[in-house]
């Protein structure tokens, strides 16, 4: 039964899903074996349900902000497995492992089930009514400047409601914070192309030169880019695409590159200008700006051999169009904006703008367009908290106590806020500091709309619809919560909306024509929308307008060696764990890191040469100390990293969140120095310098690799053939 139920029957009236129709529903976690529940056959099943055959619903994945559309298999009222929704241009029926783990988020045993009110060190269960009443009480007499709302990226109708709620106080303090936001790249793109996130056509490029953009792993929209990558490899005109990755530490994308180039951390911009110089095609301002970046100088400063620079320039010239990407490795410095600007300049010089860098369509509803998270917002919030500005703080979809750089001392500053409300799925580190914690529905049981930041083709709005009834009876959707809070502030405006579902439906129907529902009656339009799971729109496309400018392009010389802290810390973003919000999903903890195959733990990647210098072998527990603090974890020798850098993955080292996260690994966020990009104020994640010391302890590293050290040894197991000897165009 693998068709995604293109049975047009009316199976989407969630209101019709009364408990009686769905035996073995999500509520009540009982088991038949325990004798606490009996199996009741469907004498009167809902008319689309055949016991034993799955029903499929489309919704949206909320495990990251790429906004893939998913198709959930539901059996007997429980969602079992998620697949991709073929109708979405973003993921086209595919998913990533992180998305698959969405069910583990939904069924997670550590999810919050009841509203909790702080009483000393403990949280006492209270009712929702009391909670809302308490919030209203705490907000009485508080002015808009004294309220702060911290959230992760939000879009769609949730953003609208949130904005309205804050507007009802005259509060302008909405801090949108994402720990791993590509903030610097956005700003650089805006300058260079006129759009923060243009469309990258990897599948149309013949060469992709990526400066640390891990687009296959965890950058922006990995599932979409992976599909484009697959087409890229099959080749435009039968010629297989070439991927060159430049970064100080190998990412997943780097592992798949035809050539991985280790570069001295921070010097990506210098290399970019060096390539422009080597191309020899630049004129005017640009040529003048890159004149000083000859091969010898660039090679000395970046560590990339001159022959390599030549090869890169040669292939970029030969195969066109190409695509140059700036990623986390490039932007993570105080001069990150400069790096990104230099890299974007390459696209202009190579003539890629308009071909592989195109304008993205935008959803014609600016109020729904995503409020993008960034790290500069965190700094502002932190400053405000430190000054004791906020009497009431709301927190949604952010865990800054875990993800804020240790140097900001966020936890201490947070305690200076008056009344703290957290809307959370788990008792994570931030929720533990709150005074009132309100439990949220998971994405699989919630309503909503979402507009992804990165638009694949044409514009689209993703629909979230519940794939089953509430697993826990007392959790609420964020939309419902905001609606209830809005009803406190503006009862007249919102009294007609019974709940968030009603609001969404009304809002969408109001714009039926613009959403493509012309000529259909309300019910049909609504049902079709829910069936598809996405709304595709023509959208508005603003042409790219940026200039290939060199104004203000000033790359600093590479940093001098710091005697006390000789190594650069690269906090790496793992494909599954990312910023740590999913660390409590056991499939992800048990899923080996693709590059090291380490599970359930953190590690320090050290180049074997540097390790030999320091006398470190695999498994040695080393102490990594920065100016801010120190953490201890196991060493892993890895040739894919610059010898002057070490790398520790983000996402582990939780002290709360749940049983599968707590106590595993260490948290590099803790030891990050507070350095910010000079232009945008974004956190410069790669600027922390550290020293490494052995502690004398040694453990055996828990990984999937064996004693063979990931070598093939004798027989060919994984084959490799030269591109000269293969003709991919003849393949099926």
């Amino acid at each position: 039964m693998m068709d995604s139920g293109f049975d047009r029957r009316d199976f989407l009236k969630v209101m019709g899903w009364s408990g009686a129709a769905v035996a073995l529903s999500g509520c009540g976690n009982t088991s038949i074996e325990d004798g606490k529940e009996t199996v009741v056959s469907y004498v009167e099943a809902a008319d689309y349900v055949i016991p034993g055959i799955g029903v499929y619903y489309n919704s949206s994945c909320a495990q990251c902000d790429a906004g893939c559309s998913i198709n959930g298999r539901v059996r007997e009222g429980r969602v079992l497995k998620l697949e991709g929704n073929p109708a979405s241009a973003i993921n086209r029926g595919k998913m990533c492992g992180l998305g698959q783990a969405g069910v583990q988020h939904h069924y997670n045993p550590d999810r919050l089930r009841e509203p909790l009110l702080r009483n000393g060190d403990k949280g006492e269960t209270i009712t929702w009514e009391k909670a809302y009443a308490l919030i209203a009480e705490k907000l009485k007499g508080v002015s808009g400047e004294e309220i702060a709302f911290l959230s992760g990226g939000v879009s769609g109708h949730l953003k609208v409601l949130l904005g309205n709620y804050l507007a009802s106080f005259g509060c302008k303090n909405h801090f949108v914070y994402e720990a791993l936001a590509p903030g610097v790249v956005r700003a650089a793109n805006k300058k260079a192309y006129g759009a923060e996130m243009p469309r990258y056509n990897i599948n149309k490029a013949k060469v992709v030169l990526s400066f640390g953009a891990d687009f296959i792993g965890a950058w922006v929209s990995p599932v979409h880019f992976s599909q484009q990558y697959a087409q890229f490899r099959k080749g435009v005109d039968g010629q297989r695409g070439v991927l060159i990755q430049v970064e100080p530490k190998m990412t997943l994308t780097g592992a798949n590159a035809d050539r991985w180039i280790p570069v001295r951390p921070g010097t990506e911009g210098i290399l970019a200008l060096g390539i422009i110089n080597a191309l020899g095609t630049a004129t005017g301002d640009i040529a003048a700006a890159v004149k000083g970046y000859d091969k010898a100088r660039v090679s000395k400063e970046t560590g990339v051999p001159p022959g390599q620079i030549d090869k890169i320039a040669a292939i970029l010239k030969l195969r066109s169009p190409s695509l140059v990407l700036a990623g986390g490795a490039a932007e993570g410095y105080a001069h990150g904006s400069q790096n990104a600007a230099a890299i974007n300049l390459l696209n202009h010089v190579l003539g890629n703008v308009g071909k592989t860098v195109e304008a993205a369509a935008a959803v014609p509803f600016p109020q729904m367009v995503p409020a993008k998270g960034n790290t500069a917002a965190l700094k502002s919030l932190n400053d405000g908290l430190a000054a004791g500005k906020y009497k009431v703080l709301f927190n949604y979809a952010a865990n800054p106590v875990f993800t804020a750089p240790g140097a900001l001392k966020f936890k201490d500053n947070l305690s200076k806020a008056g009344f703290k409300v957290a809307f959370a799925h788990y008792l994570d580190e931030t929720a533990l500091q709150a005074d009132l914690v309100l439990p949220l529905n998971s994405a699989l049981e919630d309503w909503g709309t979402q507009v992804p930041e990165y638009m694949a083709e044409g514009a689209q709005i993703n629909i979230l619809q519940p794939l089953m009834e509430n697993l826990h009876p007392n959790t609420r959707g964020m939309g419902d919560i905001l609606l209830a809070l809005l009803k406190q502030r503006r009862p007249e405006e919102y009294k007609n909306y019974e709940d968030y579902y009603a609001y969404l439906r009304a809002a969408m129907l109001q714009n039926k024509v613009a959403l493509g529902g012309n000529g259909k009656d309300d019910d049909s339009f609504w049902n079709e929308t829910l069936t598809k799971g996405i709304i595709k729109l023509a959208g508005t496309t603003t042409a790219l307008s940026g200039k290939a400018g060199v104004a203000g392009l000033k790359l600093p010389a590479p940093t001098e060696n710091d005697e006390q802290y000789p190594l650069q810390l690269i906090p790496s973003v793992n494909i599954s764990l990312r910023d740590g919000r999913h660390s409590n999903q056991p499939w992800l903890q048990e899923s080996p890191d693709p590059l090291t195959t380490i599970v359930w733990d953190s590690w320090v990647e050290i180049h074997p040469k540097k390790a030999a210098e320091l006398g470190i072998v695999e498994g040695d527990i080393v102490e990594v100390t920065s100016r801010t603090g120190s953490i201890k974890t196991q060493a892993y020798l890895f040739p894919g990293i610059h010898p002057d850098a070490i790398s520790i993955p983000l996402g582990q080292g939780h002290e709360a969140l749940g049983r599968y996260a707590k106590g595993y690994g260490v948290n590099p966020f803790q030891i990050l120095d507070a350095v910010f990009d000079r232009e945008t104020g974004e956190l410069a994640m790669y600027e922390t310098r550290v020293k490494v010391n052995k502690t004398g302890q040694r453990v055996i590293v828990v990984k999937d690799e064996s004693a063979a050290g990931a070598k093939q040894i004798r027989e060919k197991i994984a084959g490799r053939v030269s591109s000269d000897n293969v003709d991919l165009s003849k393949e099926v």
Binding site: M1, M2, N29, S31, R75, V79, L80, E83, G93, K94, G97, V103, Q104, Y107, P109, I216, P222, V223, S226, Q227, Y229, A230, R240, V242, M250, G254, A255, N256, D258, R259, W260, I312, S576, W587, Q589, E590, P592, P594, W600, D601, H607, L637, P639, G640, Y660, D704, A710, K711, Q712, E715, I717, A718, G719, R720, V721, S722, N725, V726, E731, V732
Partner: protein
């Protein structure tokens, strides 16, 4: 308990090679994996956990080598990278290889199970019958790829494997295995059975693309291709044919050719003659850079 049953089945029993006189009909499930497309993201592995009720064993048991990933992503570095006197940096990253039960036609595991818990099905799968398995583990000892996984503990009753609500995620079409039982990739046989039933009730065979394994379905780069090797319209058939890889040869004709060919398809450990049903396409290394 009939002797005639024994004799009849014996005559259909696995031959030394897969022979032409008893070909699979109408299905022979096979797979091909493009290593040039595979990016090592592990999505297939996680999807397999979701679809097949695989237990998460936790850090300690993983350290003891008791992981249960039916589909595992291996990676291989070039021999001299990072070694003494070798290259300092790899030119290319580690090469990723998704490895799961190769559903061998002459499976070394099938012959050695004392109770006959693992056999070959008519549609070309290596079957594992959980309730017949007594746990002698000879099958895994004999597997050249070591792709079988034993239930060393009783995971359904072990803490934190499937706590409270997580039991509701379990796929009811797949047995949840208790201790002492061997398990391995089944090419999502539950999906295959469902598809075959649907097709049969409509009086036809399963079309190409109608059924997908969990790993194939989720793979963001579409590296995995799965289907009926006998059906000439299926993608898998076309790929095997184009790569000139034949199921019942231990040395392919194309490998004997002078100067080789420009074909990428190969099977792993083919010379050990298990006749695996999975073909891999070699990763391509760009010569221009």
């Amino acid at each position: 308990m009939s002797v005639s049953n024994l004799l009849e089945n014996w005559s259909q029993f696995r031959h030394y090679h897969p022979v032409d006189d008893k070909p699979h009909d109408p299905y022979k499930w096979a797979m091909s994996i493009d290593l040039d497309a595979c990016v090592g993201c592990n999505a297939c592995s996680v999807a397999c956990y979701a679809e097949n009720n695989l237990p998460v064993v936790g850090k300690e048991k993983y350290a003891h080598g008791m992981s249960m990933h039916w589909m595992r992503i291996e990676h291989y570095w070039d021999e001299d990278v990072g070694e003494e006197g070798g290259r300092e940096f790899p030119d290319q990253g580690a090469q990723f290889l998704p490895m799961m039960c190769q559903q061998c036609e002459a499976a070394p595991c099938e012959t050695v199970c004392p109770v006959g818990a693992t056999n070959h099905t008519a549609d070309g799968l290596n079957s594992q019958i959980y309730n017949r398995c007594v746990g002698s583990r000879y099958c895994e000892a004999n597997c050249p790829y070591k792709v079988r996984y034993f239930n060393w503990y009783d995971y359904p009753t072990t803490d934190n494997v499937w706590p409270a609500e997580m039991t509701q995620q379990l796929n009811p079409d797949v047995t949840v295995r208790g201790k002492g039982v061997m398990e391995k990739c089944t090419f999502c046989v539950q999906r295959l059975s469902a598809a075959k039933v649907t097709a049969k009730s409509e009086g036809r065979i399963v079309h190409d693309g109608e059924v997908q394994t969990a790993c194939q379905q989720v793979c963001p780069v579409g590296a995995i291709s799965f289907g009926n090797l006998i059906d000439p319209q299926s993608r898998v058939h076309k790929q095997w044919r184009a790569q000139q890889v034949e199921l019942d040869k231990d040395r392919q004709a194309k490998d004997e050719k002078e100067g080789g060919t420009n074909l990428r398809g190969y099977r792993i450990l083919e010379n050990m003659r298990p006749y695996p049903s999975v073909m891999y396409l070699e990763r391509v290394r760009e010569s221009a850079i």
